[in-house]
Every structure is written in C-alpha cells, then in structure tokens.
Symmetry: C2
C-alpha cells in the first residue's frame, strides 16, 4: 500500500474517521454507506471516498463500509497496532492530566516514565509510575526503549530538554510548550499550542460580533 | 478596516505572529524587517507581507515593522484588547491545569467560575475560585456575565452541558471533550482533540519509518 503524497488535511481527518467508526462500533453498527457516514460526520460522501481511496478504498460499491474492518485498517494506518512507549517531561497539572488519560493506553500509547525538576515531586506515583528527576533522563533513555516524549515544561526548559531527547535518539515529540522546537528532519514534532487555540476562538468571536452587531 | 474573507490558514498564523513579536519585545527589539521576521519564523517574507496586508499592512517600505505597534495591533485583531470572562466545566487535572495557566489571564481571559459534578470538589479553591456544582450552572449564567466556556468533561456530560451553555446565551466554547458539538451558527466552537493530535504524531512516525527503514 503506497501512502505517499498524502495531504496534511487528509491525515488530520483520519483520527476523526477513527473516532466516528469507534462510536459506530459502540452502537453495534456493522455496515455504513459513505452517505450515512457523511451525514454523521458533516463531510461530503465524495470527500470520504476520496480520502479513503488514498489508502486503497476499503468499500465495495453498493455495500458500504464494514465498520470494524475500516476501524481496524485506519488504526493500522495511524500506527495504533503497535505499542508506543512514552514519557512525560513535566509533572504539573497538564502532565498529570495526560498521564491519567486512560484512552491513550488503550490505543497503544504506554506511559513508561514521568520526569520533573521539582524535588518535592520525586517518588510520587502517577498511575503507578514514580516521578523521577529530569537529571536522570539521559540515563533512563539509554536503558529504556522510549518512542514518544511529551513536553509539558515551561518554554526555556523545554528547549534544553528537547536537545537531550534528540541527542538520545527520541524520534517523536508531542510539544505543549509555548515554543517552536528546532528538530532535525527525522524527528517528528506535533505541537499543541493551547493559548493559540484560545486566541483563535477569541478572534472568531470578535469577528462575528463586528459583522453582526456593527462596530 | 475590513476583515472579511480571511482564510482560516491566515487566522491560524496570527497567534504565532503574536507569539514571536512578544518574544522580540522581551529581547528589546524595536524594529524588524519582514526578511528577519521570516528567518525567525521559518515562513517566507512574502507570506508575512501577504498575511499582514489582509489587515492593512502595518509596515513601511524599507523601514520594516515597529515590533510593539504590530504586536498591539495583532492583539486587537485577536480580540485581546478586551476582557473575556470565562468558566471551566470539569475540575479534573486538565481543568485545573487550564485554570492555573497564568498566561491566559494576562491576555484578558479571566476565569470567573469552575464547575464539576463531583461533590468532593465542592468549595475547593483553584486560583482563588471555589469549585461549584454543575447543577448551579444555569443560575450562575443568569447572574454573571460569561463569554467563554471551557469544556473538559467526559463526552456524554459535555453534550448535555453544551446545550445548557447555548440555551443560556454562551457564544464561545473551547471544547476538550472527545466529541464534535452541535452548535448553532452564532456559537463559536474551537476544538482541542488531544488524542487526535497524538494519533497524527504516531501516523507521521510510522510513515517516516516505512519510508526510511523499508517495511
């Protein structure tokens, strides 16, 4: 299966297909037409067919999609059929929130370590994993297989830690720090800039008001 | 200033300009050319000029941009020149993490209430604001001015609460629940689907491996 030249927009939609198919499975739906899926997801049916054709199709003309099969195949495309050992740097509220998110583990994202700078937190267990000091990180990375690092540190610390992670062979960083990380081409970075999302909301709100209430 | 037909992509980049200009101000930079800004942000200079021209320009040929002026103006476009009273529904780790994020308040996003279903949390203060029960929400909305509601509730509860929010005149929802909310056209919804962001990372990781390590 060739998966090259797939646009970012398609890739962004895949997890959404996966979520909707998961919901259909919970509702014991076995088959769904692209028309019905399109109504549910507020996407056009031709968009769905186009998106899925990037990966080989999965549907039979007139029979619709087998929900469980499509769910499983999209899961494979998303890399959810293997275990991804993952660590969290930053054991504050956000780090702990992510550590406690059980859905991640169900999808193969397995938490294997949590690190912080604050000595008060050392040894405290979060979901059975004891918080370690960031100074122990390089040794930990040498002795353990880690694939994904989650950064929930302040921006100054984040930059320094990203370097340590990259120098020690980490290939995927999920970055919550309010900064753009410099990473080489073979290190995948996915940013969640929360305050930028909130600003987009406030932009849309004030634009809507200008248009509808005059200004 | 007309701000219509501005593409989503431009709007998504505005908070990033705002962030970089804020960093330049911290470094006491007073003026910057679009070339220098472009190097810093890894965007082309013509992209920057095009983006800013949507809002009237802000630059003088040959003089570059006045950093503080541009920062202030983009802040206004983003609606950061007014106070946005905001409530959080869901006082779990994520809700508390967002409540404690001081940067939001600096930008005018003022937390005025936190709500949860868990009676154990009732009355506990988070940044000086006592957690109230979700059953008190409708009355609170009638008696207080609230602009933005942050949803960090499980998806079943989130749907029900979104309805209450909308029925009580809330016009902006920042949704962290793993669900697409049905909202009328005059209610702005900004979604942060964390697990979808993590899946995008795992997709990119497995694609990269397929391409570079063979499969």
């Amino acid at each position: 299966m060739e998966a090259k030249e797939i646009s970012k927009a398609v890739i962004k939609r895949l997890p959404r297909y996966y979520r909707y198919l998961g919901e259909l499975m919970e509702e014991n739906v076995e088959r769904i037409s692209s028309n019905d899926l399109s109504k549910k997801m507020h996407v056009t049916a031709s968009q769905i067919r186009q998106d899925l054709n990037n990966f080989g199709g999965f549907g039979q003309q007139g029979y619709g999609y087998n929900v469980r099969y499509l769910y499983t195949e999209i899961g494979k495309i998303l890399g959810l059929d293997t275990v991804h050992p993952m660590i969290i740097l930053g054991a504050g509220n956000l780090g702990q929130a992510l550590a406690n998110y059980v859905d991640f583990e169900k999808r193969g994202f397995k938490l294997v370590g949590i690190f912080d700078v604050n000595p008060v937190l050392e040894g405290i267990a979060v979901r059975g994993i004891e918080i370690q000091m960031l100074s122990d990180l390089p040794l930990f990375l040498k002795e353990n297989e880690v694939e994904i690092a989650i950064l929930t540190l302040p921006k100054i610390k984040a930059k320094e830690m990203a370097k340590i992670l990259i120098d020690n062979g980490i290939k995927a960083i999920w970055n919550f720090a309010h900064i753009d990380l410099d990473a080489p081409e073979d290190v995948m970075v996915e940013n969640v800039h929360l305050s930028e999302s909130l600003m987009t909301l406030s932009y849309n709100l004030s634009e809507y008001r200008k248009e509808h209430e005059g200004m």
